[in-house]
Amino acid sequence: MTPITKLNMVKALNLALLQEMERDPDVLILGEDVGVDGGVFRVTDDLQRKFGSQRVIDSPLAEAAIIGTAVGMALYGLKPVCEIQFSGFAFQCFHQIENHAARYRQRSQGRFHCQMVIRMPYGGGVRALEHHTESEEQFYAHVPGLKMVIPSGPRTARALLTSAIRDPDPVVFFESKALYHAAKEEIPEDPETLPIGRAQVVREGVDLTLVAYGAMLRVAREAADVLQAEDRVETEVIDLLTIAPLDRETIVTSVGKTGRAVVVHEAPRSFGPGAEVAASIMEGAFLHLEAPVRRVTANDVSFVGFAREKANIPDVARIVAAARETLAF
C-alpha cells in the first residue's frame, strides 16, 4: 500500500504539481510570482528551485499574455499550468480563454488543442478586499470547450489537479482560499486521480439532496449533520467537483430518490450555476420533485466588503433553513 501523508490543500496541490512535473517534462508552470516567491499562497512553493526558471516561469504582470502564451505553448505540445493570482483578475484574460483556449480544437478540427490548466484562487471568507473574494465559476461553466473544476478539500484538490494536468482539454481550476489552510486530509503519496465530469455522493440520504462544491461543501455537510441531529432528516450531499460539464446523472439520480433539492454556492444567485442545477433537475426528475429546488447563494451584489461578508455567503443556518422550507413544502 502506498504511504499516506496528512496535508492541507496548499501542500496537496503542491504535491500534485511536483509529481506531474516529475512525470512529464512537458508540464510547466507560468504566472505572476509563481517562481521565486512560490505563489502568493505558496501553492507552487519550491518548484522553481527544483525545475528551474524555464519551467516555473515568473511572468510579467499581464493575465491575457499569461493565458495567450500558454495557448501558444499548448499548441506546440507543452502542457502549461497557469496561475492567475486571484480569480478576480481573470477577466483580463477572459478573451484568451473564451476565444482561444476553449476553441482551438474546434477551430483546427482536432489538429491543435490546448492541454492546459488555469488555476486560480476564488471565493470569500479570508477577510480580503474587492476582487479577492468573488466566485466567478459561472462565467467559465457557460463556455463550450472548457472544463470547470472546483475541489472541496486537500484530497480532491490533489486528485483533480492531477487529472486536470493530464486532461487533453483546457481546465479552469478554482481553489477556495478559505480551504487552503482550513484542514488537513490523508493523502496517498502515489499520484491519485479523479475523473473530471463526475460528481461524488459524499453522504447518502433519502429525504433531501444538497448540491454543493468548493468551500460550500463543508458547510453543506455541517448543515446535513444539523438536519440529522435536529430534524432526523437523511440528507444526501453531492459534491459537484466538476461544475462543467455538469454531472447531471448523479444529481438527477439522487433527486429521483429524495424528491427535494437545495443547491448552494458562493456566486451570486441570478443566472448562476444553481440555475443550471435547478433546471437540470427539473428536466431530469420532474415527476419526482416534491418541492421546487431552492438556491442558497450569495446575493446579487458584486462585492460587499469583508466586514459584511458573513451575511452574504451561505452558512449552515441558511442552508438548514432552506432545507426545512423545502422539506415542509
Partner: protein, 380 residues
Amino acid sequence: MPRTILEPRFHVEYLSILDSDGNLDAALEPKLSPGELRSLHRAMVLARRFDERMVRLQRQGRIGTFAPIKGQEASQLGSVITLRATDWMVPSFRETAAMIWRGWPIEKILLFFAGYVEGGRPAPDQRDLPITIPVGTQLPHAVGLAYAAQYRGDDAVVMAYFGDGATSEGDFHEALNFAGVWHVPVVFVCQNNQWAISVPLKKQTHSKTIAQKALAYGLPGIQVDGNDVLAVYTAAREAVERARAGEGPTLIECVTYRLGVHTTADDPTKYRTQEEVTAWEQKDPLTRFRAYLEKKDLLEDGLEQRVDEEIAEAVRRFEATPPPDPLLVFDHVYAEMPPHLRAQREELARWLREGGAPAPEPPEAPQGATPMRGQRLTRR
C-alpha cells in the same frame, strides 16, 4: 546629476531597396537565385489573381465575407519566404498570400470563407495556426510557440502577422513585452496598410511609426517599404536569422497599403479618397517587382494563365465539396464527447433522420451586404 539625456539615443531604421520608380540600391540587393525570384513572383501573381477571384466568388454568394489582400503581396511574401517548413506561421485574417505559400490548399481557404469549419484545419504536419479573427489576439500565441521551441531546444522561428490597427490592442503590448523578457525566436510582422477599416493610422496612434513601438520593449524595430519585396525580404531574413541564432525578437513594420475593401462588406468610399488609392496604385508591389524581373529577363511567359488554371482547378474542387454534415460540430469540442454533448448530438441526429432539421444552407448572397465599390480588378 541635472537634467540629462539617458543613453543610448534610440533610433529606428528605414529600409528600402527597390523603390516605386524602379531604382535599385544594388549594394543592398539580396542574393536571391533566379529560381527563388521566379517562384516569389509566381506566388505574388497567384495571390493577386486568387484574391480577385475570391472577390468574384463572394459577389456571387459562393463564399461569405472575406478580407482581400490586394496591395499587400510583397509584405506577406517577402517575409514568409524566409521561413522553413519547420518554422511557424501565425496569421491574422488577411494573410492569404502567406497561407498559400505555406501550403494551405486554395480550396481549403475557400471552404473557410464559405463557413465550413473544415477550412480551419491545417495539414497534420503543417506548422501554421489557423486564421485568427479577434485582432491582435494571435500575438501571445506566437510568443508561446516561440517559448516552446526554445524550451524544447528546437531551432524553429515563429513569424506572426498583424495590422496597424492591431498595435492598439493590449494583446500586442503584452505579447511584445513577454517576447522581450523571454528573448524568444519570434518575428512580429506588422502590415501597416494605413487603415484599420475606416480609421487611418494617425487616429490609431500618436507615434510617427509603428517600428518605434519596439523601443518600449527594448527590441529592435525596423520600418521597411512594404511594397518593396526585396526590402521586406532583407529585413525579414535578418530578423529570422537573429531569432534563430538566439538573439531574440524583432518588430518589422511594412509600410504598405490595402488597395481594396477592408472586407467584402466594406465600402471604403465612405472614408478615403480615390486620389489616395490612385497614388498607392502607383506603388503596386507587383508592377515594381515585375519591372525588376524584366530587367533580369526572368519573366515567365504564360504565368497568369497557368496561375488562373490552378485557381480554376481549386475552385472546381471547392465546388465539389459535399454538403456539410451538421453532426461534425460535436466532434472537436472536447477530446472525448461528454454526456450532454452526446445527448445533444443524438437529438440532432434523430431530428435530421426524421427530416425535422432544415437542409444545409446553399450558397446564396448575404442579405444587406454592401456592394464593393472600393475593389477593382487588376488591370494588367
